[in-house]
């Protein structure tokens, strides 16, 4: 959990003169990511060792987590593109549902790649609708998103009924569709596997996680992962990205500088829909996942949005968010209630580290809150042998809530995110 380093950062109010802020030495983003990854693995392997629950760092957990993180990651990327252009996209869920149907339909008739394309196309169609409503007609972004979620569900059900039912005999399910082949880094994977089996503290944990990540990887997974740096590069290093981001920060200024704000918002939301559709495809076209199934998205679009918020509207951050949710979800699937309880233990360790850091920074309140949180979690861990099995499947949701409660205030959304913009209305 990459949070609580700074509870309150003063947000300068717009318009009032602010003194130049003290420049902090900047750690490059990739390095910060590596540091957090190292801390996370260290904490989890300590917890795994202390509690004796090896599922925390097993290769099984890691590969399940990767599979479960993928749709969330793609939705989060979709959210990133829309919100960087200033359009809140809560319709990701609906676009994702359209994507699942498109993926199954395309894959059934044309193979996996056609399925992927169809999923992107259907998702983008949902995006187009969202763009027409929010950009052209200036409908409230959340209202439009909610409507698209309704519509996406309805259209997918209708089409499933129309097209899948005659084949599969079940209106709620598609016929069996082909899946992406998977590839493993053969030598590496075996070597990591033997390391994992040796049960050496630390080393075996790292090996387990890595093995899970390099075994049985589908092309779609690789594409999704590559899309993170690609998104970063396009949004932050190209003229197109600069213009798109300027629409999310200050559309009036962008307009005054000759940027066609409508066009970039449309493109942002279209791409966003495409990513969400791809997220849908990742539910249908990967081995281990179901074929098209009614309600199979199960709120992942929303969780993707939460992952993006958690990631502070940045590609690297949302990867962290998606990994966190994928991990907590994968853990409960692979390890059940015991593993989630061990996760609590890990959270306690993490909190203790954070409290120490806060004490060094002389942030007494933050440290105090951390101590209380750690105490409560430890009490839960100590008094329970296992957690109620009915609640275990919602681990990721609980984690989302807690993470947002802790992290929301130090986030920096695009300034004009969700604002209704109209050409020529600035002053």
């Amino acid at each position: 959990m990459t949070t609580t380093t700074e509870f309150t950062r003063p947000e300068p109010e717009s318009g009032t003169p602010v003194p130049a802020r003290r420049q902090r030495p900047r750690i490059p983003g990739w390095l910060r990511g590596v540091i957090w990854a190292v801390i996370a693995i260290a904490v989890m392997s300590t917890a795994s060792y202390a509690t004796g629950v090896s599922a925390l760092t097993s290769s099984n957990t890691a590969s399940t987590a990767l599979r479960l993180a993928l749709p969330i990651l793609l939705c989060a990327l979709g959210g990133l593109w829309a919100e960087r252009s200033g359009v809140i996209n809560i319709g990701l869920e609906g676009m994702m549902i359209l994507g699942t149907w498109g993926a199954a339909w395309g894959a059934y008739y044309g193979g996996v790649w056609i399925g992927l394309l169809a999923a992107i196309g259907f998702g983008a169609l949902g995006g187009l609708l969202h763009a027409v409503a929010t950009v052209t007609f200036r409908v409230n972004h959340i209202v439009s998103g909610v409507a698209i979620n309704l519509l996406g569900l309805g259209v997918a059900k209708y089409l499933a009924n129309l097209i899948f039912e005659p084949i599969s005999g079940n209106p709620r399910q598609s016929p069996t569709v082909p899946k992406f082949d998977t590839y493993s880094a053969v030598g590496l994977s075996d070597w990591l596997g033997s390391l994992e089996d040796e049960q050496r503290v630390g080393l075996s944990d790292v090996a387990g996680v890595l093995k899970g990540l390099v075994s049985g990887v589908a092309p779609l997974t690789m594409i999704a992962i590559v899309l993170i740096p690609v998104s970063y590069w396009v949004l932050w290093r190209t003229r197109f990205g600069l213009r798109l981001r300027s629409c999310g920060e200050n559309p009036v200024a962008a307009e005054s500088l000759g940027v066609n704000v409508y066009r970039y918002k449309y493109l942002g939301v279209l791409i966003s829909g495409g990513f969400a559709g791809m997220g849908g495809a990742s539910l249908v076209l990967l081995k281990g996942g179901a074929d098209y199934l009614e309600n199979q998205t199960n709120g992942r679009g929303y969780i993707g949005l939460a992952a993006m918020i958690f990631g502070n509207w940045r590609p690297g951050g949302l990867l962290g968010g998606a990994a966190l949710f994928g991990y907590s979800d994968g853990l409960q699937l692979a390890g059940g209630g015991d593993a989630v309880l061990a996760l609590l233990y890990g959270a306690v360790i993490l909190l203790v580290i954070i409290v120490i850091v806060q004490l060094f920074r002389r942030r007494w309140i933050a440290a105090g809150v951390g101590v209380v949180g750690a105490g409560v979690l430890y009490a839960i861990y100590w008094t329970n042998d296992t957690l109620p099995s009915d609640l275990i499947p919602y681990t990721a949701h609980f984690v989302t809530l807690i993470v947002l409660a802790v992290a929301s205030q130090r986030l920096r959304p695009p300034k004009a995110d969700g604002a209704l913009y109209r050409r020529g209305e600035g002053d």
């Binding site: 007609f137 409908v139 209202v143 439009s144 309805g154 259209v155 209708y158």
Partner: protein, 369 residues
């Protein structure tokens, strides 16, 4: 004075346009799938007069109405209480458990159950409200998470290890004794929920609160402009908290018509999605209690009569699509009409004042120094 024509146009035209538009689009979808749209629509309307469909529509409409009201309270203040879904289900399971455990005289028993439902709904809404006010967490995301979590809570609570009772394949809460139930009115082959009348009273109370009380004024003012409201002495944070709790309280009642009028027990298989329907209904009804009633009945009609489409081999999901299109096009239509109206109003004011306002051409005096 605002003319009657303009008010008619603002209020009724958009939903009508949206419905017509939805009918047209669905007709296209029907034609593509090889069905006759006229026959399909005819079958749906005809179904209304068969069996208990009309009564079922009103009963279901009553549920949607409560849900729509709950959402509308949040909307008034620009709050998106997407969590009505979670709030009503949480309230339903808690009220069903407590109602099933209690032995009280009639009426009192019912009142206690309703109060428990109201309090539980508000309680579950407290979480996103507090997170928003103190930590700045968007209520949209937090309520969506809570909507999912509630399924786990229900499964946990109705588990036979906790408060549940196993009946056949279904697990549910203990049956509520007849003393706690709300009797219905038999009409034809169906029974009209007695709760319908309570819902009408709640609708009237909502209207009164919004239009005649200081609280309603502050709620609306805060929703329209938090800055102007705060200069007028209304604390946005306080209003957020109260609006969310009130919304949750009404949400708590959503499942009561069915629980106290038909099911008497709440199980894991109980119908879901009433909360999301409430969003659509509130949007359609423009947060107005009358409009919400119309929206709720329309929605219920589409749901109950869609079943009849199977008789003519048309997928009943066409009704869901229609609903989706109606929501989206109604918000677009409201926006267009609103913009047109404001422009017309400005022109009218401009015209009315021509000759009084400042006229550039008459001030061309002055000159060189």
């Amino acid at each position: 004075m605002k003319s009657g024509v303009s008010s008619w146009r603002t209020r009724l035209l958009p939903p009508l346009l949206a419905i017509v538009f939805a009918l047209l689009l669905s007709a296209i979808a029907l034609i593509i799938s090889g069905a006759d749209p006229l026959q399909a629509y005819g079958t749906m309307v005809g179904q209304l007069f068969k069996g208990s469909t009309a009564v079922d529509t009103v009963n279901l409409g009553c549920v949607y109405y409560l849900s729509g009201l709950a959402v509308a309270i949040g909307f008034q203040m620009n709050l998106f209480n997407i969590g009505v879904e979670g709030q009503y289900r949480f309230a339903a399971v808690v009220a069903a458990i407590i109602g099933g455990a209690l032995q009280l005289p009639p009426v009192l028993h019912t009142i206690v159950i309703l109060l428990v439902a109201i309090v539980s709904g508000a309680l579950y809404a407290t979480i996103p409200a507090v997170l928003k006010v103190t930590r700045g967490v968007s209520e949209v995301i937090s309520t969506i998470m809570l909507n999912s979590i509630v399924a786990g809570i229900i499964a946990f609570l109705v588990n036979a290890d906790q408060f549940g009772v196993q009946t056949g394949n279904n697990v549910g809460t203990r049956q509520i004794a007849p003393s706690g139930r709300i009797p219905g009115i038999p009409i034809g082959s169906g029974t009209l929920f007695g709760f319908v009348f309570i819902a009408i009273v709640i609708g009237a109370a909502y209207w009164f609160m919004l239009n005649r009380t200081r609280f309603g004024f502050e709620l609306k003012a805060s929703g329209e402009s938090s800055t102007a409201a705060s200069a007028g002495g209304v604390s946005a944070k306080k209003m957020t908290l109260i609006a969310m709790l009130l919304s949750g309280a009404v949400a708590g009642l959503v499942a009561m018509p069915e629980l106290l009028g038909r099911d008497y027990s709440y199980g894991i298989t109980a119908t879901q999605m009433y909360g999301f329907t409430g969003i659509a209904v509130a949007l359609l009804g423009r947060n107005h209690p009358g409009g919400i009633a119309f929206g709720a009945l329309l929605w219920a009609f589409l749901d109950t009569s869609a079943v009849s489409l199977e008789q003519i081999n048309v997928s009943k999901e066409i009704a869901t699509i229609m609903q989706g299109i109606i929501v989206l096009s109604v918000v677009v239509a409201y926006e267009i009409v609103r913009r047109a109206d404001l422009a017309a109003e400005q022109r009218r004011v401009g015209r009315a004042l021509a000759g009084n306002g400042r006229k550039g051409s008459s001030v061309a005096e002055g000159g060189a120094v």
